[in-house]
Subunit: 424 residues, 2 copies
């Protein structure tokens, strides 16, 4: 890290994902997507990405090759305790630096295992082998630390392959340094997120704004149940911020309350914030989504403040016995109907004594569809403590996983619009 | 293609995905996964994969680099009509071969546009530029053809980036040639999957088997709650099958019932099959996993045959009112305890009238931990209709998402071992 790149230098980066499994058909490197986004924000374009197996000689060749076109070479993976984890030793050899076993770190590792009631396996000891001359990057989320070293002006950052650990080390130890170096030109990005609408419906609404900002890259990305607009600009910080703000304002003018959140803010977090701010509690009743809505809600740290619980009633008997849906409703309207959805929401509200309850019942497929109610038909219900109710029907296209995911997000979007006082 | 590799040659492959968009955060190369699978079947391992932008100089460097370690270099992308599609010209320059505009092909392209009522844009003409000396690979699904060329014994196969076109050309023109060359040699793969154990614990058990098969690549892969062993062999079909079977038998001999499934068979499917075969129904009671176990169970098509439902009881009041956990148990032992886990399982079994019920209660974090019960402490309970119960405690290391995922899989593994009559 002695050779700091000045702000004027147009730095470039290369990323190497290390692991033989990512050369096969079953595993994909995804860390590089997140890394690209963070580097892009700092105006550091990624010029090459590669995947190489757990082989010291091939890794050394890869490092030499990337070092020819990139100022920063970032590696992920191969820091584990097993015999095929060779990154640290291979990078040290490439740097011409020795390894030193850190006894203090080793003792800490042993204590960590002991606290969990285990003896540390012997193979773990190599995670205490540090590269002499490299900066140690602490790993608050795992065992293996990262390293930051320099060879002939090229900076090599070595990170674990576990995504949460890789991100944590980047956020706490690497990005702050790069941010300070970037000084002048920056990239700015804003993601506007929409649920409960299809991609073409969003595209029709934003077409005029799209045309107005045609010189700046706007990307529309669809996934089951969500559409994202990615706005990106580059320039001096003040100018970039101003242009991004103007673009965002134009898109918000046509999309309004359809935007549930921005950037990393997911729908469950937004709903959680609205519930917390409004001091409201939530209960759920799920059929076809089978617990996925509850799982999304409880992904959010602190959700126990507002989330009471859920009844996942897959069997009709459970809908009757546990949610109090009348057998006449199930018989006359069917389990997949607005009447059942409303009765499920009312039942969950009462059983959990919650301020608001949302229900989902539908046909996720592949079986169970009919001409009248094809696979993908889903009903949603909402009931609050004051007796207000609403129901909604949607038809989703896709396989079982797509339908379940889209329906889960639609359930949360129904709740969000209710909480902000907008019609879903 | 003059220099055919004989069946005895251990050929290797490298894959280059060409396209600047795949260096950003939004697009991922996926063609290489399909290509890896096809090549592996022919006993041609992929030794490097890379992504490079639409830049002739960088692409030439990439080709030279991959040609050092791979006998086949396969490129995808950059064959389109726009200015940033540079693959054909760049590869021709790298080969030292001229381009020749094919007038017959050009006329066919013009006719194709005319049939759709358009005039061909001028930029499309470059798609009729053929590399002199290279074999043309016809593209039945699109405009741009592929090419197959040789430089110093390295064979370069140039394919479009559109997945359907890439696959079609591989299937119709490339794989038949490689299959014939491979003669007998094929690749075979088996994935053995284990839940409820850590990576180091698995590694210690299999170390002797690992050593015995050290000439065949075995990879150990860990993700939250699951460890996978990937066995891969190459050889004549019968010999490869036999060696893979012998390897698998050795690993199974030490791991036994700890292996829950193989290849694409996930734990929820295995549990589902066991429940269906045993004509048993299942109910769940979840606290810290918040519906994730139910969501995994209902991911499986047809799960309504055996899954009754789940009670997600986040609040203590819900544990008492809906699951019948006695307030004395919650007060004395706490919500995160073996007594509460057992009471939750018994409650779910009774409420849903299920043959077997599993419960999870723990501290997913980031808050809520204590010295006695740190974040990651999770208790599991199981109760069946005959009154049999069991409880288990585990301590998971990681962030909230990791702990929830690992705990969800542990709950299913507890159930699986109960169903197969093994101790968890």
């Amino acid at each position: 890290m002695t050779e700091a790149a000045g702000p004027a230098t147009a730095s470039t980066a290369g990323i190497i994902a290390i692991g033989s499994e990512m050369l096969g058909p079953l595993r994909q490197d995804t860390n590089s997507l997140w890394l690209s986004a963070r580097l892009e924000e700092l105006g550091i374009p990624v010029v090459r990405k590669s995947v190489v197996g757990d082989d010291p000689a091939l890794l050394a060749e890869e490092l030499s090759f990337l070092a020819r076109s990139a100022h920063y070479v970032i590696t992920t993976g191969g820091l584990g305790p097993t015999a095929d984890d060779v990154t640290v030793a291979a990078v040290a050899a490439w740097l011409g630096a020795p390894l030193r076993r850190d006894e203090v770190f080793l003792e800490k590792m042993r204590e960590r295992f002991a606290r969990r009631g285990f003896e540390m396996p012997a193979c773990n000891a190599k995670q205490a082998d540090f590269i002499v001359g490299a900066t140690l990057l602490e790993n608050p989320k795992g065992t293996a630390p990262g390293f930051w070293a320099v060879r002939e002006g090229v900076e090599v950052v070595i990170l674990p392959g576990v995504p949460s650990e890789m991100r944590e080390i980047m956020e706490s130890s690497v990005l702050p340094v790069l941010r300070e170096r970037a000084g002048g030109v920056v990239g700015r990005r804003r993601v506007l997120r929409i649920a409960g609408m299809g991609e073409s419906a969003v595209e029709e609404l934003v077409a005029p704004v799209y045309a107005k900002w045609k010189d700046d890259p706007v990307t529309i990305l669809a996934s089951p149940g969500e559409v994202q607009l990615h706005l990106a600009v580059r320039g001096e910080p003040a100018a970039a911020d101003a242009r991004l703000a103007a673009m965002e304002a134009d898109f918000r003018a046509v999309l309004g309350a359809r935007i549930f959140g921005e950037d990393a803010e997911d729908l469950a977090r937004v709903v959680g914030r609205l519930l917390r701010d409004g001091r409201k509690t939530l209960a759920l009743a799920e059929s076809c989504t089978g617990g996925m809505v509850a799982s999304l809600v409880t992904d959010v740290p602190g959700s126990s403040e507002y989330f009471q619980g859920a009844l996942v009633t897959y069997a009709n008997a459970a809908k009757e016995d546990l949610l109090g849906v009348e057998s006449a409703v199930l018989r006359e309207a069917g389990a997949v109907s607005d009447r059942t959805a409303l009765a499920m929401a009312r039942g969950a509200q009462a059983r959990f004594d919650a301020d608001v309850a949302v229900s989902v019942t539908g046909i996720a497929g592949p079986d169970g569809g009919s001409a009248e109610k094809p696979v993908g038909t889903v009903y949603f219900g909402l009931a609050d403590r004051d007796g207000a109710t609403l129901a909604k029907k949607r038809l989703f296209i896709g396989d079982r996983a797509v339908i379940r995911r889209a329906a889960s997000l639609q359930a949360l979007e129904l709740l969000r619009r209710h909480l902000v006082g907008e019609q879903a």
